[in-house]
Subunit: 149 residues, 2 copies
């Protein structure tokens, strides 16, 4: 039977001080389903969905009414990510901290799936006995296994 240790893959982390623009690049370049935020000792603090980085770059009035975005800012629409300049991951954190989807090396496939279902996160952080990140299990990796692709 597979366990988290078998399904975990290497996964990059960001810290609170990582520039938000660098976090966005990491998401895009490595095609990640989200970002794992860890402290300086490599202990996971939070998992940010990719859309969370956008929430920092898109003005609030546009999020309240996306149709406004077209009218107001058309000339600069392609450049909106510049608003991330100077901001860090710290500022990307949601106001309400969310439950961290985290498992130990012995977690079963069902346990990992339950964590993803419960937290609606396509990404679970896997930690060793010392609480430090060992890797991550993605929804894709989990489905590939249970569907035996």
């Amino acid at each position: 039977m597979m366990r988290a240790r078998d399904l975990a893959v290497e996964f990059p982390t960001v810290t609170l001080d990582t520039p938000a623009l660098e976090a966005a690049r990491l998401l895009a370049e490595q095609d990640l389903p989200g970002l794992i935020l860890a402290d300086e000792d490599g202990r996971p603090l939070s998992i940010l969905p990719g859309t969370q980085v956008l929430r920092l770059a898109v003005p609030h009035y546009c999020q309240d009414d996306p149709a406004l975005a077209r009218v107001v800012d058309e000339a600069h629409a392609d450049l909106f990510l510049r608003k991330l300049g100077g901001k860090t991951v710290r500022e990307c954190l949601p106001a309400q901290p969310r439950e961290l989807p985290m498992a130990d090396l012995k977690a079963t496939v069902l346990e990992l799936a339950a964590l993803m279902a419960r937290t609606r996160s396509p990404l679970v952080a896997v930690v060793g006995d010392d609480g430090r990140l060992v890797g991550a299990v993605t929804l894709q990796g989990l489905l590939d296994h249970v569907l035996e692709l």
Copy 2:
């Protein structure tokens, strides 16, 4: 300036009657960030995050307490997706319908980003004047463009 019509990529759809197991396979095989549910005329009804399919397969008591999953069901953990057998996408829909992230062909990059940020969906359905799905813009595709990868 780029618009939704330039960024949209072909995207498969599921219907209410698609078997849930087939939907899970589609997610895994095509590495999709979510599923677009459309009616028989190709009009988008909803976008399901990948984790929503898991919510149907994982017993409720495990979602309430993922650690229970290890104790109770260890012997069959790898086989939990069998619970999807016979179920359809109709049964995967969340109890509360969510706002559908949908844009027309002329939507700007900022408008698409605002929709993703607002609905926390890494996927926006793009429809033509007749309301039928033309394609989808993914968070990855959008970031690739605004970061000029």
